[in-house]
Structure formats: C-alpha cells, structure tokens
Amino acid sequence: MKLNELDLASASDALAKGQVSSMDLTNALLMKAASSRTNAFLRIDHELARARAREMDVERASGLYRGPLHGIPMAHKDMFHRVGVESSYGAALRLPLPSEDATVLRRLDEAGTVSIGVLNMSAFAVGPTGHNISKGHCRNPWGLDRITGGSSSGSAAAVAERASFASLGSDTAGSIRLPAAMCGVTGLKPTYGRVSRRGAMAFAFSLDAVGPIARTAKDCAMLMDAIAGADPADPTCSPRAGSQYVKSIADWSRGLRVGVPQNFFCEGLQPGVSNALKQSLEQLASMGCEIVPIQVPDLAIEDAATAVVIACEGLVQHQRWMREQPEAYGAQLRIRLERGAVIPAPVYLGALRQRARSLEQMMDAVFTKVDVLHCPVTPMTAPTLDSTDMDRGANVDDIVGSLTRFTRPWNYLGLPALAVPIGVDEHALPIGMQLIGRPFSEEVLLRVGHAYQSETSWHLQTPPPA
C-alpha cells in the first residue's frame, strides 16, 4: 500500500512506530495532490509543507511528542484564516489579509499537523453541488463528470482520492455531509457551538458549523479531539469542554436504540439508496442495535425557516462585497442572497424564535425514544455536473431543495450529524447514511460509525483509477 492510501489512524500509528516520517507522508500526499484529477486543490504549498514536516520530525526525534496528529499532513477548505495568507473563500474576491489564525487551524498547529495547501469549495460556501465558476468545478473522483456535493467539495474529493488524510470543512445546510456521502468518505457536522468558528468565513452564523471530513469515523474523532471545545474568542462557542472522542468510540455497547423514520426521510429515494439504507440497518441490528420505527415531526416549517435564516444572514455577510465587487458573484449566489433583502425582519426573528420550540418537539418525538436517528444524507447519488449547473440555467430551488432536504433541518435544530459510507449504486457511485444524535452527543455518533466500519468495508473502497 502506498503511504497516501493509509487512513489517518494508520498513518499516525506508523509514525509512532518509527516506520515512516512526517516527511515521507508529506511527500506522498504532495505527489498525489499534484496529480489530482478532481481540481480539489486551490494551492499546494510544497516547500512550506516540507519545512513543517522536517520541523515535526526533528521535534519527535528530540522527544517532544504533541500527540497522535504530530506530523500528519492534511489540507483544508480555503475559508480558515491564516495570518498574512489569502483565504479565497472559493471566490474571486479581494480581501484584506487575515491578522489572526482561525482557532481550528491554531489548534491543529499545536497538535502538530502539517498543512500541504488549501482546498476548493463552492464560492463562499454557498451551494450544495461543488460547482465553482471562478476556481473551476470540483469533480467527483468516483466519476469525473459527477458533482462532489458541496460546499466542502475539495475536502471530500481530496480525502476520497487519498490526497489528504483528513480535512476541515464547514456545514450550513449539509456542506460537510453531502460531499462526504457523494465521495464515499466520512463527515461530521458537530452540534452548533461545539467547534469554534473564530477566524472561519461565516455564511449564516446561526447555522454554520465547522467539522472534519476523513476516511473513517475514528479519523474524524482524532480531529475532534484536537479542535472541539470552548473558545473564549468565539462567543457562540459552547463553554463545554470537548469530549475524549477517540477514547470513547471504542466503548461499544449493544442495545443502542436506532430510530428509523417512517415518514419524510423515506420519501423519494432512488432504489439504490433505499437498498443500501436497508442493508445498513440490518448490519446495525446484527451488531446489537435495537431498530425502532419512528414518526418524525413534520419538518416543513423548519425547512422554510432555514431558508429564511440563510437568505437574511447570508445577505448580511455579503451585501457590502456584492456592492463593491459584484463580479465575484455568480447567478446562483445572487438568486439565493437577493431574497434576504425582501424578507421582513419580524419573519427572520420568528425563524430564530421558532428554533427552541422545534428542538423541543424533535427531542420529545424522537430523542426521548431513541439514541440515534438513521436516515439518508441525500435521496440520490451524485448527479452530473451538467445537470446541476445553476449558473447555466438549472433551477436553483429544485437543485438546492432536492440535495439538502435531509441535511438542512439538522442545522436549524443544531444537532450533530454524521455521514458514513454504506454502499454504491448501479453506477458504482457512493451512498451515505446519516446518523443524528442529541445535542453534544458526537461521541455516540462516532461510536456507531466506528463500530459499523469495524464490521463493513465500504469506507475502504477506493475510487476507480484514471
């Protein structure tokens, strides 16, 4: 096996045993990134990465050990600030250079990771497909004519094609889970406030979450160990301490109750998606989970309220830039943001006032009866780039609505959600399941994901060679 094909945990083990160096791993990823077929990378930092890898190797040799991420190379969505370095936000926008590092990057620096570059994304993290008219569309390694899903398109594509051991993404309506599912990797949207957003580009600040995309649930847990927890610099970040995610995922216990929606989330699924979900439930049952059919509250209000919040808060973020640099905005972006200008303030405030009530209803109806809810990430596998190009006439409401209808309610409700690969369709395109849990129960989701991946091999499948 080539070094870039290791998962994060295996790469960490190999480093710990002295079988490889950070420089070996970094060179392997740099080589893979340079030959990427997916347009996942917006910038590759060859010399900076090698210098950092050398530094991490020297530290380790001298007895300084930062932890399991010490010397691990990776790249992230290009929306996390680094002092003095341009963050493009996936757009052709001219911005002042950042004066501070994003908290999540600083924490990964302290954990010893090596940055090898920055990754493509939907412009401004707006868009569930991965199209990008200024940076070039990101392509799915499982089918280069297919979308990756968005907006963390480069993160999922780079991890799937083995050019990054893990990657940070962001998720406002599904932007971690959609590309993770469509690219056959694992992605976690943490609870609202679980991970600091200081120094990360905002889209809709009431919904945004920063989280990991990686090959496995265990790899996601390794990143969460480093990035989760209180941040005094981010007043929206929960004061709760982070959990010990890697330690807790090994604690599998039979009898976990897994809820299976009998409404909404089972509607309009492609047959391949439906079959894969059924098989994943059979697998969970064979592992000792109790499968509980459950009626989920109607989510029409939450779905519409999410659209209200996104339009209003998105416009707050963008109105100045749209006025001063209109050339940075494509049709899809503008159509979605323009609505924010005509939504009355009381409606926006109503959408925020409704959230606690909607959460209470969901908790009462679902999470007092089950530990985890099981549903699809999307009703379909990755469609083609051509059929979903919203800057070339594809209907924005149809595309956004169909791709995100199973993901965005969880942003509105603030709940953690994990996407896990569970199969492929007749075109060999990946399918994901979505596991949702109670607030701040990321370790439970990761535990289920890890146990599932200990018994199955979907997460080991590699995209077809060029």
């Binding site: 925020l352 606690a356 109670r438």
Partner: protein, 49 residues
C-alpha cells in the same frame, strides 16, 4: 443594493411569499415571551450536564 437583481422582482416575491405562507402560522403561534437568543441555552439543556 447597487446590483440589479438576477431574478425578477416577481420571482423573488413569489419565492418569499411561498416561504412566508409556510412559516407565518407557526410564528404567529409562538409564545409572546419566546426569545430569539435562547437557542444555545436550549441546546445545552437538551444535551444534559
């Protein structure tokens, strides 16, 4: 805004009206004292200790 909208005013109005038709009955029924800033506290309560 300095930009002319991409969508027509009629299209924007139609899509926003559709959203309002869905959400307003629920919003009108919210308790008078419901607070738009209490969501984080609500998450914390449901998340246990």
């Amino acid at each position: 805004m300095a930009l002319d909208p991409v969508a027509s005013a009629a299209d924007i109005s139609k899509s926003v009206t559709r959203l309002l038709d869905i959400v307003m009955p629920a919003f009108d029924a919210l308790p008078f004292d419901s607070d738009p800033t209490d969501f984080a506290a609500s998450l914390d309560r449901w998340g246990g200790a």
